[in-house]
């Protein structure tokens, strides 16, 4: 053990001895009433808004059985196909939908790519710089607000 480690060990023993003599701090008198009030607020919550472990036993068993049954059914029969909502075929006579979701994404991506390639490198760079500057600005403003709000700390 070198001198520094020896020194450190002695300081540690000293601190252990001294700090060990400090009694625990008494909680303020306001703490227990605050806890009671917080717990009372929780108690009036309906059972379904509490953590699952605090649900009545019957509901816990029922929900467990239901979830297991649904999982098993979905595994066995497979997921049902989602119905089309608001399909253009319902609105436009003679319209036959042929675009798949993947195709729609591909079209949008292609359109963006075309727009970027026609806009030129400088336009893209300026756009990215503006977006970056706005991001930094919002981060900076957020930090300033945070510091002002916790200045007392």
């Amino acid at each position: 053990m070198n001198e520094q480690e020896h020194n450190d060990a002695k300081m540690a023993r000293w601190a252990d001895e001294v700090l060990g003599q400090l009694p625990i701090q008494s909680a303020p008198a306001t703490l227990a009433p605050r806890i009671r009030a917080a717990v009372a607020r929780l108690k009036v919550l309906p059972w379904y808004r509490r953590p699952w472990l605090q649900w009545p036993l019957g509901w816990r068993l029922l929900s467990l059985g239901l979830a297991s049954g649904v999982s098993a059914a979905m595994s066995y029969w497979g997921l049902p196909a989602a119905p089309t909502v608001g399909s253009p075929a319902d609105l436009v006579p003679g319209y036959h939908p042929t675009v798949t979701l993947a195709g729609a994404f591909a079209t949008v991506a292609h359109g963006l790519f075309q727009a970027v390639s026609h806009a030129g490198t400088w336009t893209v760079a300026i756009g990215l710089a503006v977006a970056g500057a706005l991001w930094c600005l919002s981060l900076g403003l957020g930090t300033v607000c945070w510091r002002l709000s916790i200045r007392d700390n």
């Binding site: 520094q4 020896h6 020194n7 450190d8 002695k10 300081m11 540690a12 000293w14 601190a15 252990d16 001895e17 001294v18 700090l19 060990g20 003599q21 400090l22 009694p23 625990i24 701090q25 008494s26 909680a27 303020p28 306001t30 703490l31 227990a32 605050r34 806890i35 009671r36 917080a38 717990v39 929780l42 509490r50 953590p51 472990l53 605090q54 981060l139 900076g140 930090t143 945070w146 510091r147 916790i150 700390n153």
Partner: protein, 180 residues
């Protein structure tokens, strides 16, 4: 024990321990009270699992410590966003030359000294205070503290060493006058 009617007694039995842990780690009465309240609310949510109470003390200490460290981490992440980035190199610097207490004799602290020591702990820089409390009050070793705080082992050792030195310096004048 885990009858809901006993929760009030449970709070009264453990509130000092929970608050004390939170206060030493956070160094702020209002934040310590908030953390203590949150700890007991979580205890109430897990009341059925706390069993016969034999492990409740340890559970409460762990939850309190984790809540405090999360609080400090969140605060540090936001606060040091722009200002403290340059400090990292300074913090890794060599330990200060402090002479160890060769002649420290076992002695009981007076009430005044305990009060000064408590104030001195509260006045320590946050990093030093947290590391010191985790080591000397929570019983964690250097490696565990470094993992908990997500800092280097060297920084933990330096912080604790500096904290002890600062406390010793605070007690030194009294020690000379009182003879402790």
């Amino acid at each position: 024990m885990n009858d809901p009617a006993n929760f009030d007694n449970f709070v009264l039995n453990y509130q000092d321990m929970v608050y004390s842990t939170a206060f030493r780690l956070l160094g702020n009465e209002a934040e310590a009270e908030d953390v203590a309240q949150e700890t007991f609310v979580r205890a109430w949510k897990h009341w059925a699992e706390l069993g016969d109470g034999t492990t409740a003390g340890g559970w409460l200490k762990t939850v309190t410590r984790n809540l405090c460290l999360n609080h400090l981490q969140r605060y540090r992440n936001r606060w040091t966003l722009f200002t403290d980035l340059r400090r990292s190199d300074d913090e890794e610097s060599a330990e200060p030359e402090i002479v160890a207490p060769d002649d420290w004799e076992e002695a009981t602290l007076t009430a005044d000294q305990r009060s000064i020591l408590n104030a001195a702990i509260g006045a320590l820089p946050k990093d030093q205070r947290v590391a010191l409390v985790l080591y000397h009050f929570e019983g964690l070793d250097y490696v565990a503290i470094a993992e908990q705080l997500k800092v280097s082992l060297g920084k933990v050792k330096t912080d604790i060493f500096r904290a002890r030195a600062a406390l010793r310096k605070k007690l030194q004048p009294l020690r000379e006058t009182v003879g402790v």
